[in-house]
Every structure is written in structure tokens, then in C-alpha cells.
Subunit: 325 residues, 2 copies
């Protein structure tokens, strides 16, 4: 299949072509990178946009169940839903948070849904580029909503927030009346906080937790991209499929307001500019990853460690070799 | 003055040549960088080593008074002492933590001491390189001890710890019995905690704080580079010049043990290797700082933001221009 054929099939909504294309953008091989760039450039013409929803939540908040229920609710409305995952831990564990599709059995069988497990990657920077490119492919394939799931660790949330139109934080009801150790930085990124498990015995705790977070959100500095009442905290029960419509309505209300006020396109433009800069920096540093560069770094590193040469002079030598090679 | 002459003068302990050389390594100009590299390479031959003491402490713990008293105690023993400062905040404030030498009046008049204010810099990475190079210059000039002072904010402590033989954390007596909000990561870097102001009314609080930290240090994971009893917490009074000899003895005991057990040279080698890698990465990224590169980044950034070109293709274009230019 040529790149042109692949682009045509993706634009026609062919899921196998989409899956193959995502595998292509996940590859680090130079020829694959060139093909991926060509493919993305070819698909730019579709002009399609999905709503990109970043979703974060630590293990135990019921993220899979939420995505299953929420995703099925959306497909029930006739919307096409893609689910992507960013899991920085999968590098170490070898696993992946969405690898086991049995966790979302209904959604994975849904013809209007597309679930892609997170690849095991070596670097968060690489994960970022591949996820952004997978989003672009899903948009070109005509998906209406792209859910980008991440676990609440490290820098992955910031990264997902930087590629999403709205960032949703999923929480479980807290045991006491304290906030659940959610870092302030994460709170400040959230557009919508969803307190899950608002069902059965946990309902009173969910109500209290939701009120606590609503209060905490009010104390944050007002952001220009938010209308009155946002960021907001509300309750859902993924298990009982309750509150999901309301959550979606809140997301849509926010997005509509942002579209009307120029923040939707403005944020996307700023995000594109940011990722372009990151990509350039990564590509510059990738020149230190070639075999010749690694060899120079290792040999001169030894000489530096032995005190035979100063770091400054050794660095000049490496750069000369890299730039000439 | 040629670089060769400058090197000779520095090796002979000429303080004015040393001051000029530090100004040279602080410069970002390409020709100055080349001269600095030449100078450092020329001075490598002296083979002199100082004891590099990293010193951190938030404003209010009495850092200046401590450096003044501690430095004078060391010069009183016949040791030559250089004081350098790393102040990431000086970029913004325009000031510098050691700019006002009147804060260390006695030490600044001491012929065996050399105090260098922190330069105002644009980037922590730049500060790191310049500080390391200033350390190397002070060592070549025959100083026995180099104190590298930093304030307890951001990444500057990690940076100073990565260029010091021992890392000392200076604290003030705590009000209650709680630990003073010292971040765990900083605690884990410390070789020695000094509780200052163990004098007058504050002595009981200092005693309690010191015991609290001694307890907290015992709970940290044992590090291979520490002998029995380290890291350690002890009390000083910079005001009354009490406990300074003991603090110095502790430092020397630790350094002797590390020398005998291969950790002193081992850590230096590992630090040199680390800084060499950092320098190479910085130099690669510096290629994006030229006027032509900035122009390409700005123009293509606009095109990316407008959706006219994908970030991947735009990045390729910039790199092509940078590598050809």
C-alpha cells in the first residue's frame, strides 16, 4: 500500500488502514518517519476536527469503566469515538493501560469506536509526538471525539493537557473530608472534575468530595479561556451510567463558548506552535543518538572522567564530529 | 594579556587575572567561549584540587554570616578560600546574592579569601557551566576550599550538589517541633545539615531542630558513599563562631573516608561525565539560537499555528536550514 493509498483509505474511514498508520507513526525508523510525515501532510487536506478530550485519573478511580460507559453513551448518540492512551509506565512494565481490551468489552466491539493501546516507548517526548500524530490520524479518519487517557503520574498529564481541547480529571470519592492529594498543578489544568463512583454506599462521600473540589476550584486564579462557572466539578457513576450525559453537556457547553470566543482555535494554534518547537529540539538532540555520536560521547566521556580533557573541549570535539558526520 | 599569560598568572595565584578569567568564562560570546576553553585546557596541567563544598539555605538562615565566620575560620588555619554563588533569582531581580560584599566584610578584606558575586544569567544551564568553570579556575589558582553558595529554590541545589564534593544544608531553628518544610529531595542530597543560630534564646529550639533532623536523616536510605554516622546533623552559631571547627572536622572526616574508599574520585569522574553530556546537549540546542534559526522557527511556527503545514514537516524544514546554514 502506498502512502497515497493509505491516506485515501484513512480518509474513507478504513479502520485497518488507520491502525497500520498509527503503527507507522509509532516507529522510530528514519524511513518510517519520512513516510509518516508524508502521510500526515497528505491527510491535512481533510480539514476534519475531532473534539480532543484529555482524561486523567490515578489507578482505582474507575477510568476504564468510565471510558467504557462514556464512550458507549457517545456512540449511542451516533458519534464516532477513538480512545488513545498515554502511559509512561508502560516502558518499564512492558504492559499498557489499554492493552487489555477486555477491560472495555462493550466499547471495543462497538463499530463506532476505535481503541488503541498505548505503545511501549522509551521516552515521554517520543510518546508525545506519536500520540499527537495518532490524534491527527483519528481526526482525518472522521472520528468526532478523541479521548486521550493518561494515568496520574509524572509529566504525562501536562503533556496530554497540551494536546487536548479540554482536560478532564476523574476522581474517586475521598475517604475523609480532605482533598485526595491531587497536586495543585493538576487542579490548575483541569477544565472539568468528575467524581466517579457516585453510587450505592459511596454516594454521600462522592457528594462531599464533589463539593470540596468545587470549593477548591473557586479558589484558583481565573483563566481567560473559561466562561462563568468553569472549571467545574460534577458527579458521575460509570457503573450506573449516571451523570454521563450531563458531563458531556458540560464539555460541549465549554467548547461552544471557547469556539465563540476564539479560545478554541487560539489554544490549538498555540499548542501546534509548542509541539513544533519541541519537535525541533528533539530532532536536534536526536543527532546525538547515532552510533558515531554515541561512540564519540562514550570515548570522550571516559577522557573527561579521567581528567585528560576538559568538558568544554570534549564537547567541542563531539559537536565537530557530529556536524561533520 | 594572552591566554597563555593569563593561565600563568592564575597558576601563580594572581587574583586580578582570576577575576578577569571568571568574567571570560561568564561570557556567552563565541570567541570568548573559545578562549575560555583554551584557558581551561591550559590550566588543567596544574593538577590542583580544592575541596568543593556546596552550601544551600533559604533566606533567613544566616547564610552570609555563616560564610563569613566559616570562611574566616578556614583562612585562620592558613587555608585559601574562594566563595562562588549560584543564584537563579538574580536573573529576574537583577541583583545577586553575593553582590553586596559588605555582607561579608571581614572575609572580603581577607587576603586569603576570594569572593565572587553571582552573575546575572539567562539560563540555569548557562549558570551551571560558568560556575563549574569558575570552580576549575579557583582550583588552578591554588585555592584549598571552594564554597559554592546557593539559595534553596528550584533546581539550583541539585545543580550545586552535582558539582560539589560535599553538600551542606544550612537551617535555622524551627518554631515548633515540625521539620521546616525542607523537601525530601534536598534532604537526600545533604551530606551534612548545620542548624545555625544555636545561640541565645534560640539555643533550645536549635537543639530540638537538630535532633529532629538527625532522626529524619536516619530514616533515609543508606547511600554507598557514606561512612557510619553520615549524613549527619550538627549545630553551629555563626554569630558566636561556635561549632565551626567541628563542622569543618566533620566535612574533612567525610572527605577522608570517601578518598580512602574511592568515592571522592569516583564521584568527581561521574560528575565530569554528567556535565560533559549536558554541555554537548546544550551546544546542540544552541544551534537553534542563531538569527537564521530563530527566523525559520518563527516563520514556520506561524505556518504550523495556521495549520498550513504539519509540525513534523515544519521541523524537518527548520533542521535542514540549520544544518545547511
Amino acid at each position: 500500500m502506498t502512502i497515497e493509498e493509505m491516506a485515501e483509505k484513512i480518509a474513507a474511514g478504513d479502520r485497518r488502514a488507520l491502525a497500520r498508520a498509527i503503527t507507522l507513526v509509532e516507529s522510530g525508523r528514519a524511513d518510517h518517519r519520512e513516510q509518516a510525515a508524508e502521510l500526515l501532510e497528505a491527510l491535512k487536506g481533510t480539514g476534519r476536527q475531532a473534539i480532543r478530550v484529555g482524561l486523567s485519573g490515578t489507578p482505582g478511580v474507575g477510568k476504564s469503566t468510565f471510558i467504557e460507559s462514556f464512550g458507549c453513551m457517545l456512540t449511542g448518540k451516533g458519534l464516532k469515538v477513538a480512545v488513545l492512551a498515554v502511559d509512561p509506565s508502560s516502558t518499564r512494565s512492558g504492559g499498557s493501560i489499554l492493552g487489555d481490551k477486555t477491560r472495555m468489552e462493550r466499547l471495543s466491539r462497538d463499530p463506532k469506536a476505535f481503541i488503541r493501546p498505548s505503545p511501549s516507548q522509551s521516552q515521554l517526548g517520543g510518546v508525545a509526538r506519536r500520540t499527537r500524530e495518532a490524534i491527527a490520524l483519528c481526526e482525518a479518519a472522521g472520528f468526532d471525539v478523541v479521548l486521550i487517557e493518561t494515568v496520574g503520574v509524572g509529566q504525562s498529564e501536562t503533556m496530554v493537557a497540551e494536546m487536548a481541547d479540554i482536560f478532564v480529571l476523574l476522581l474517586a470519592p475521598a475517604g475523609g473530608d480532605e482533598l485526595q492529594g491531587v497536586k495543585r498543578g493538576i487542579m490548575e489544568m483541569a477544565d472539568l472534575i468528575l467524581v466517579n463512583k457516585a453510587d450505592g454506599d459511596l454516594k454521600p462521600a462522592a457528594t462531599r468530595t464533589c463539593a470540596d473540589y468545587a470549593g477548591a476550584l473557586k479558589l484558583l486564579r481565573k483563566r481567560p479561556q473559561d466562561p462563568q462557572g468553569f472549571p467545574k466539578a460534577t458527579m458521575v457513576s460509570a457503573l450506573e451510567e449516571a451523570g454521563l450525559e450531563k458531563a458531556w453537556d458540560e464539555m460541549m457547553a465549554l467548547i461552544e463558548w471557547r469556539r465563540e470566543n476564539g479560545f478554541f482555535e487560539g489554544t490549538r494554534a498555540q499548542q501546534a506552535r509548542f509541539w513544533f518547537g519541541e519537535e525541533v529540539r528533539r530532532a536536534m538532540l536526536a543527532r546525538l543518538e547515532t552510533e558515531a555520536a554515541r561512540k564519540a560521547l562514550s570515548e570522550l566521556g571516559d577522557a573527561v572522567a579521567e581528567g585528560e580533557i576538559t568538558p568544554a573541549r570534549a564537547a567541542q570535539t563531539v559537536l565537530k564530529r557530529v556536524n561533520e558526520g
